[in-house]
């Protein structure tokens, strides 16, 4: 009996990180330093927020930036905000990336990786669409050209809720 419970405890230790963030759950807190001022997800309540996790070494992240610029420009005035959290351990790497691929949306920095841990990120890049009520609408890992349409549709659907 004792052995079984020990095994269970070990299994739980192992699988603790295997849990994934799901739609409908309240989004975890996000408090990270930004370019000028600190960024807080709670402060963006009432907006549809697209939280993206990216790194300079991640090739699909580079492809995702022009698309995110486009989305921010297209839907920004309707209450849409992209917050892209960089998870590079060195800030210089992130700055080099941003010099190459400019971002016209909010950038956050989390070198320690606390926020991706809280958001239970499984791949790079990962995005979490958070509704105006602070609840997760959609979690997505990776960035492929054929998935852009579905991602945009999810944003449009979330923005429709806003009015």
């Amino acid at each position: 009996m004792k052995f079984a419970s020990l095994l269970l405890a070990a299994a739980m230790l192992c699988c603790g990180s295997a849990r994934a963030l799901e739609a409908g759950e309240a989004a975890p807190a996000l408090e990270v330093p930004g370019v000028k001022a600190p960024i807080s997800l709670a402060a963006l309540k009432g907006k549809v927020v697209y939280v993206d996790f990216w790194a300079s070494w991640c090739a699909p992240c580079k492809q995702s930036f022009p698309w995110m610029n486009e989305m921010q420009a297209k839907y920004g005035d309707r209450g849409f905000q992209i917050v892209a959290v960089n998870v590079d351990t060195k800030r210089e790497d992130a700055d080099k990336f941003l010099a190459e691929v400019p971002a016209k949306f909010t950038i956050g920095y989390d070198a320690k990786g606390d926020s991706p841990k809280r958001f239970q990120i499984k791949g790079m890049p990962s995005s979490v669409l958070v509704g105006p009520d602070g609840k997760v609408i959609k979690v997505h890992a990776g960035f492929r050209p054929d998935e852009r349409k579905a991602q945009e549709e999810a944003i449009v659907a979330a923005l429709a809720q806003l009015k």
């Binding site: 004792k2 052995f3 020990l6 095994l7 405890a9 070990a10 230790l13 192992c14 990180s17 996790f53 790194a55 300079s56 070494w57 991640c58 998870v87 590079d88 351990t89 790497d93 990786g113 991706p116 841990k117 990120i121 499984k122 791949g123 790079m124 990962s126």
Partner: protein
């Protein structure tokens, strides 16, 4: 009693070594560096592969593409 302690230790250590050290998705910066690839220089690898396929008289079987149809 001793057996229990041993088992507890075993289970605990299995949990620690098996999963605790796995890099998370956002911790793979060093693994993504070019020097971490299995092969070396890309051009050199291409030459080697070319010589190898010429000698073998067949290509493919080492990746996704190329099924030995002779079309690549």
């Amino acid at each position: 009693m001793k057996l229990h302690l041993l088992l507890a230790g075993l289970v605990a250590s299995a949990g620690l070594t098996g999963c605790g050290s796995l890099p998370q998705a956002w911790e793979k910066g060093n693994l993504a560096r070019p020097e971490m690839t299995m092969g070396g220089d890309a051009l050199e690898q291409r030459y080697q592969q070319h010589i190898y396929t010429s000698k073998e008289g067949a290509s493919g079987g080492y990746g996704v593409g190329g099924g030995g149809c002779g079309c690549n």
